[in-house]
């Protein structure tokens, strides 16, 4: 236990920041209680102030009680006053160190350092250190990987930079209207104490009665939509300003470093040695537009927060995303573009079956309740009305199924509403599960599960043909599979699997 290094404190600037926060928090309460001082609903402002002050004071207490130290083989943090916590993380378990800063923290030149060790409850954050110490700590903990400051990391290859063409791709959404509706709603409540009635103002703007319901909705959408899109553009730029994704460091200790943000900058470092694969996420609407979001599959990132989501890039055109993916993987393979093996026709039948009997089952259940007198008679056929939606979705779900192996990678694809194409290094496979229901047994299909320590921790190739499923395991982990998978002595025993083994290319 010797040579552990001294206990260190968080930056004293946290105190300054908290004092400023106390002062700022008082403003709305003062306005509400002293300036307005009438019967209006000022309690919201006062409560807001109280919460702000309380938050700042708690933060001060946290600053007073928090100590941390960096030992040669572990990092420790002690915090808390009433409930004390002492957390120890072995240094070889540290998977990621990244830092972030909100606007106010940036003003005080503070950075929050997140130390991630894979499991959620053994990660901790140091909130906050001054910029110099944060950079020092990042370098210290990830010795080998380069520090994020550009002047200290000479060996950097840029993989992608924010391009103006990305902006329209990322702001077009049907939900843009709600970007306006939400703030308007809160503005309405905020302005009420000051005697401003937004609803009244809106009523006076147009002759709603003559427009009718449809006309009113259309007008609202026509006005709200452009504003919503503009707001989305602003939010996107605020978050992604100066976005760049680079590979830093010298081999073998390289890392993917992404930086972004206008007011608050966020730097995320991902050690290349922990990179296990990539994934494209394509929700239904984006798929029609040919857009995809790129995610990394790495070990050791906590499953929460910005780094945990694994989102590497904003939405891009599929072609561009593929180019970037090839540069991220950096070993010359392009597994995400490999033609996939389609799953047997039975998988489609199964999905159509779900789409039909799911609602039917629900209707049957409701019928039971109807017969017992708990529900009125018109309720039970309602679930059947969703079948026009579920049946096409079954086809979409079937069409997105696929898997293959490509060089040192295996690829699985699936999902109806959110199609995800995942490629995983074969070495990242930490076991196999094969699942087969009675119906799948008759149809010669099985669901392959691929447990891994990275990303979502479990990827699936649902409803592959038995032959396809076992071949996938054999190709990905030949030695392991050889112990459990054998050639049947008589191929004629399984005529079904011979039929379903057809390999079709996408």
């Amino acid at each position: 236990m010797t040579g552990e290094g001294a206990w260190r404190r968080l930056s004293v600037r946290v105190v300054h920041l908290d004092l400023v926060r106390v002062a700022l928090s008082c403003v709305p309460g003062y306005l509400g209680a002293v300036v307005l001082n009438d019967d209006g609903p000022v309690w919201a402002l006062v409560a807001g102030s109280a919460a702000g002050v309380l938050g700042a004071l708690t933060d001060l207490l946290r600053w007073m009680t928090t100590r941390y130290r960096i030992g040669p083989d572990r990092v420790e943090m002690r915090s808390g006053w009433a409930a004390r916590r002492h957390r120890t993380v072995a240094r070889d378990r540290i998977r990621s160190v990244d830092s972030s800063a909100k606007a106010l923290q940036r003003l005080f030149r503070l950075r929050v350092v997140h130390v991630g060790s894979g499991e959620h409850d053994s990660s901790f954050k140091l909130n906050a250190l001054d910029r110099r110490h944060a950079a020092l700590l990042e370098r210290e903990l990830l010795s080998g990987a380069a520090a994020p400051e550009p002047e200290e990391a000479p060996a950097e290859t840029v993989i992608a930079r924010l391009r103006w063409q990305w902006v329209p791709l990322n702001i077009v959404t049907i939900w843009a209207v709600f970007l306006v509706a939400g703030p308007l709603f809160s503005l309405y409540w905020l302005l009420r104490p000051f005697g401003v009635d937004l609803l009244g103002v809106a009523r006076g703007l147009a002759d709603w009665g003559s427009l009718g319901v449809v006309g009113s909705v259309l007008l609202c959408a026509a006005v709200g939509y452009p504003i919503g899109v503009a707001a989305a553009a602003g939010a996107f730029l605020l978050e992604n300003w100066g976005f760049e994704l680079v590979r830093a460091g010298t081999p073998p200790a390289t890392a993917l470093v992404s930086r972004r943000g206008l007011l608050g900058t966020r730097t995320v470092q991902r050690d290349d040695r922990r990179l296990r694969g990539l994934a494209f996420r394509e929700p239904l609407a984006w798929r029609w537009l040919g857009l995809a979001e790129t995610k990394v599959v790495t070990t050791g990132l906590s499953q929460v927060g910005d780094a945990g989501s694994g989102a590497l890039l904003p939405r891009l055109r599929l072609g561009e995303a593929r180019e970037v993916a090839a540069r991220v993987l950096a070993d010359g393979h392009r597994p995400l573009e490999a033609p996939l093996r389609r799953h047997p026709r039975g998988a489609l039948v199964r999905r159509l079956g779900w789409a039909a009997y799911g609602p039917a089952l629900l209707a049957g259940l409701l019928l039971l309740f109807t017969l017992s007198g708990a529900l009125p008679g018109w309720v039970w056929p309602l679930p059947l009305t969703v079948m026009p939606v579920t049946l096409p979705m079954a086809v979409v779900a079937y069409r997105s199924l696929g898997h293959t192996t490509a060089g040192p990678y295996l690829v699985v694809r699936g999902g109806a509403l959110h199609r995800e194409t995942v490629t995983l290094r074969r070495g990242a496979v930490i076991g196999w599960t094969f699942e087969q229901s009675i119906l799948q047994r008759w149809g010669g299909r099985m669901t392959v599960g691929i447990p891994t320590a990275a990303g979502d921790r479990f990827y699936r190739a649902p409803d592959a043909g038995t032959e396809q499923a076992l071949s996938l395991a054999r190709e990905a982990t030949p030695e392991l599979a050889a112990q459990f998978i054998e050639e049947a002595s008589d191929p004629g025993v399984r005529p079904v699997s011979a039929r379903t083994d057809r390999v079709m290319c996408d």
């Binding site: 070889d92 894979g118 070990t299 259940l365 039971l368 309740f369 017969l371 017992s372 007198g373 708990a374 070495g427 990242a428 930490i430 076991g431 196999w432 599960t433 094969f434 699942e435 087969q436 229901s437 009675i438 047994r441 599960g449 447990p451 891994t452 320590a453 990275a454 921790r457 479990f458 038995t466 032959e467 396809q468 076992l470 071949s471 054999r474 190709e475 392991l480 112990q483 459990f484 998978i485 054998e486 050639e487 049947a488 008589d490 191929p491 025993v493 399984r494 699997s497 011979a498 083994d501 390999v503």
Partner: protein, 165 residues
Amino acid sequence: MSGSGLRLRPPRHRVDPRFVLWRTLQALLWGAGVLGTLGAVYTLAEVTRPWLGPVLLVLAAIYLVNVVLMPSWRYRVHRWEATGDAVYALEGWLTKKWRIVPISRIQSIDTERGLLQQALGLATVRVTTASGEGKISIEGLDARVADETVDELRRITAATPGDAT
């Protein structure tokens, strides 16, 4: 690559025959608890009857199958083995599930013995990996066999270098 007629060979060992008794007792206890509670509510509170009636009906059918059919069916399916470099298990009844975990990826090995299992001299061996879905539970082993297996696995795991996943 995909030759005709690949199949998963069944793991070598069956679980202990007392497994059937254990699962039957377990299903009986659960059934009695759940149906008893709901039945009591059904008889005492008249307003709930239209709602609870169908639920009771469906649950009673499920528990009947669970008590009569499921344990022996599972016993016929469940199999396991631990080789020098992997743990391999097959479980399920309506849906069969094969699980393979290489020794080098094992993070922890546990034995677990509930009250019923203790009374019957059974134990459950649980092997976990870095992936929540990648764990194996082998239920209903003879307690002595379970202990030996776990000791053996601990020995092999310690001798096998892990990989930093």
